[in-house]
């Protein structure tokens, strides 16, 4: 009797049909797995709002834009430093809600900042960020304000001299 050959193979060897099922399931599972993991919300917000200049992983040309990686956490070692981050103009004026902004700051300080963040440091919450962003640092000479803060962190809170690097000039 003339029949499709492939069907005959399976009728004579039922295990072959089962094997085909198993192989195709493995294959399908493999095809379905995503090569890229989506960014977590705070990480995505960081990239879209900060990462263009501060770098995808917080590494930037520190003369132009302060580098964050393994450094930004030192700001949490003084009360002024903790307030400084949400008071920075582009942080305070962000279009993100207090909640999402707090999540971005925590991602920046505790993940990008790595060991620079104080052990057991308290994360920002929406209420704290909401308070500070209403007092943005737009009426001080920002580069001088930053330098004072950094000198204090270096002399009293064991921050490395590397934290100073930032000329704030594009020329």
């Amino acid at each position: 009797m003339v029949r499709a050959r492939c069907v005959d193979v399976f009728t004579q060897r039922p295990w072959a049909a089962l094997a085909a099922v198993a192989v195709s399931m493995v294959l399908a599972a493999d095809l379905k797995s995503e090569p890229l993991e989506p960014f977590r919300p705070a990480q995505g917000d960081y990239l879209l709002n900060c990462g263009g200049c501060h770098g995808f992983h917080g590494v930037s040309n520190a003369n132009l834009v302060p580098s964050l990686k393994d450094l930004v956490g030192y700001y949490l070692r003084s009360p002024e430093g903790r307030a400084y981050l949400p008071r920075l103009p582009n942080v305070a004026f962000s279009t993100l809600s207090d909640q999402r902004l707090a999540a971005v700051l925590n991602y920046v300080v505790f993940e990008i900042g790595g060991n620079s963040a104080p052990v057991g440091g308290k994360p920002y919450d929406a209420a704290e960020v909401g308070r500070w962003r209403k007092q943005p640092l737009n009426e001080v000479v920002l580069s001088q304000y930053r330098l004072q803060l950094v000198e204090n962190l270096i002399s009293r809170h064991q921050a490395p001299a590397e934290l100073r690097v930032y000329t704030g000039s594009f020329n």
């Binding site: 399976f10 039922p14 049909a17 099922v21 095809l31 960014f39 879209l48 709002n49 263009g52 930037s60």
Partner: protein, 179 residues
């Protein structure tokens, strides 16, 4: 008693069915159907219908084949002349031009999988503007904000961190899958 026509017909039908089908053949076909079924949700048609409909004009016309055209999917926020028309690629600078250390970041939807990707718009600098034809000058405006929101603006020449702030061309680098 003569057999009713209906009885004759149904007997003939069942006998024919029994003669031409095999139980093992049925199992084999079922096995093949089971084997093939998981592949169907992966076909583009199924994925396209499951995804959201395009939101912007750019998304409606975007393509994934030709990166020297303005409607290449990654250029949804690109403003300027495409580096891929100037000896570079969609995310690489042409020889002699250097990438800006700073950029602005947006998202574009890939029309193939309908997913949103994070894209960094990086200018290539240090050479006079590329002289590619008009079709290479683009103005994608997805996620672009007005100049007073300069960190997310595409009119700015993002070369101000470079040794030479001269603009040569624009690239769009894929950063990853948006959340």
């Amino acid at each position: 008693m003569p057999k009713a026509t209906f009885d004759v017909l149904s007997e003939r039908l069942t006998r024919r069915l029994a003669g031409y089908s095999s139980r093992r053949g049925f199992i084999a076909r079922l096995g093949m159907a089971l084997a093939a079924a998981p592949l169907f949700p992966l076909l583009p048609v199924a994925r396209a219908s499951a995804a959201e409909s395009p939101k912007t004009d750019f998304e409606r016309n975007a393509q994934v084949k030709d990166e020297t055209k303005c409607n290449y999917w990654k250029y949804c926020g690109s403003d300027g002349v495409l580096c891929s028309c100037c000896g570079g690629g969609s995310h690489t600078c042409p020889p002699g031009a250097e990438p800006s250390p700073i950029s602005w970041i947006g998202t574009c939807v890939n029309p193939e999988d309908k997913r949103s990707y994070v894209i960094a718009y990086r200018d290539c600098c240090g050479k006079p503007a590329c002289t590619a034809g008009k079709s290479c000058w683009c103005d994608g405006t997805d996620r672009d904000l007005p100049t007073y929101r300069s960190s997310l603006n595409n009119d700015i020449i993002w070369c101000f961190g470079n040794a030479s702030a001269t603009y040569h061309c624009s690239t769009a680098a894929l950063v990853g899958l948006a959340g």
